[in-house]
Amino acid sequence: MTRTFLGMPATAPRGVGHLRGDESFPVAARRGLADPQLRRNLGHATGTIRAKSAAVIGELPDWAQLRAAGRAIKTDTMARLPELLEQLEAAVTRAGGTVHWAADAVEANRIVTDLVRGTGAERVMKVKSMATQEIGLNEALAEAGIEAVETDLAELIVQLGDDRPSHILVPAIHRNRAEVREIFLRAMPGVDPALSDEPAALAAAARRHLRETFLSTRVAVSGANFAVAETGTLAVVESEGNGRMCLTLPETLITVMGIEKVVPTWRDLEVFLQLLPRASTGERMNPYTSMWTGITPGDGPQVFHLVLLDNGRSAVLADPVGRAALHCIRCSACLNVCPVYERAGGHAYGSVYPGPIGAVLSPQLTGVADNASLPYASSLCGACYDACPVMIDIPSILVHLRGQAPHPRAERATMAAAAYTMDRPVLYAAAQRAAKLSRLAGRRGRGLPPPLSGWTASRDLPQPPPESFRQWWASR
């Protein structure tokens, strides 16, 4: 192996993990479009969360300043990523943890599988983690005879329903309460047949179902929302307490983290802990945030492994325009405001990363050729940029990636995406005109009309994209 080969940024390998769909976006989107129940569930859920989020963001007079700080911290982080990772490794090691480096999904799966095998455990419990879904860890563990139990309510709904996640934050967002009840009645052992579809009753059923698992499982696998290079501190932000269970009860904790999750300093968390919950679940603060630094003698897991995952991230970093996609803190606000996501549903994006962020992240992780239709899975209305708490200019990255799509396939993708959009010309034309007009109005200080007014009340509006999808199409 030569030095030059060693240094080449690499995309995520094929044949492992969940970054590539089986079909192109426009084809897959047709299924979502044809499912009125899915659209109702999504419309209701995203509407609810937009309103909640707008309300708590409106409470902060300095939201615009927090966003600017968030973006600057992430930009600085990416510029110093190798050094920060080395610093993180040293700090975690000092605090009693062990750091592993995984060049891709195959290596990460092997590292985790070997670590679990080393403990002798045949079952691990998991707290929701995009990174482990991305690499297909559960399948790799299953091949090794190790059962992975998802402990998030939504992941449990997906796992019991033999389904796929469709949203970053709420993987079962496409299911309503009645459907959840049916899944529980069908697939949850020992569930009370009189179970109602009240969310509180459904949550209580999950509590009973998982208690024994929490108390008896010796190994947990988690993701991480943040890792502080300066101190070696890891943070997991959650709601239900299943994260705390996984981070506190087992003997061994294995955390798999994309390398872009590092932040330089402890103080930086003061920014992200304000941005994330308000943009994400629309709460002032999520119910639980756990932070740990290596091992604490006598408290929590006494063995801690941190797996740092590349799997295409170095390739994303290599693109000066596209690398801003690595700034994402996985809040899912861009999904919740996206008219295309709301109509097509999360499954249409193929990859575990759906919605606007998925449309810019997945093609870069895999190489644009492997996800050539995703850069077209957008009308470039710009709502995602407005909503993003770290100000990722998703529309500009989409346009940039369209330029990279291999030509013949790009044509096909464009045709299909256009057909899908043009199918609903009245609605789309109206939506686009409204978005563009209100963005212009917003720049004169009036902000967006409801439901987006809350987003803009305390945010600075970006420039409208130079041309809308329809204008762009018409000019071709």
């Binding site: 240094g7 569930n41 300095d62 510029a79 939504a154 307490g241 299943n242 119910p287 756990s290 630094t293």
Partner: protein
């Protein structure tokens, strides 16, 4: 080895020259920018379905009796004994097994910091707060907070906390937004959170 491989890839991806490290603009309200308003804390805790009690130091045991009288509770090793009424059977945590803790009705702890603006209580594992497990398994958590532990904003809390301790930020009882995105109390953590603010 993949460590060198990844670091090499990242250096190649960034190319040269690299920009100098930049201090991010911190024009938001930082630590010390805002005065503490206890009413805001009470409002935010209540909004997320925590039950708030306000009392003097001499009345803590009376409030604990109201919430947990007649029940068995786990307590951290150095919880002030005067906080516990006779009506409560206290089991000190001397490395109790998880199943034993799970079988108890509640837990009483102190706190490290509370954030008024977000209605958040932070525990840092000090001897009056104990291991993380004891505030996780029982269904009722009573947390005693001194007013001088309350700060206004998240930056104030980050400035006060020690990242080398295990930290648990708690904002209301366990909840989920996973079903139709409505916050519903009560999944895996304590379903009842009582905060006693001691003047």
């Amino acid at each position: 080895m993949s460590r060198e491989l990844i670091l090499g890839r990242l250096r190649a991806a960034l190319g040269a020259p690299r920009p100098a490290p930049a201090d991010p603009p911190r024009a938001y309200r930082g630590a010390g920018a805002l005065a503490v308003d206890l009413d805001v804390l009470v409002d935010r805790l209540t909004d997320y379905r925590a039950t708030v009690h306000r009392c003097g130091d001499a009345d803590i045991a009376r409030v604990v009796d109201q919430v947990l009288g007649g029940r068995q509770v786990v307590v951290p090793p150095e919880l002030p004994r005067r906080w516990l009424p006779d009506s409560v059977r206290a089991v000190p945590d001397d490395d109790l097994p998880a199943a034993r803790i799970a079988a108890l009705d509640g837990v009483v702890t102190a706190a490290a910091v509370a954030v008024a603006e977000t209605g958040t209580v932070v525990l840092d594992g000090a001897p009056d707060q104990g291991r993380r497990i004891i505030t996780l398994l029982p269904d009722v958590h009573v947390c005693v907070l001194r007013t001088d532990q309350v700060v206004a904003t998240v930056p104030d809390a980050v400035a006060r906390l020690d990242p080398h301790r295990p930290l648990t930020w708690i904002s209301g009882p366990s909840a989920t937004s996973d079903i139709e995105l409505n916050r519903v109390e009560g999944v895996h953590g304590p379903r009842n959170l009582h905060v006693i603010i001691v003047a």
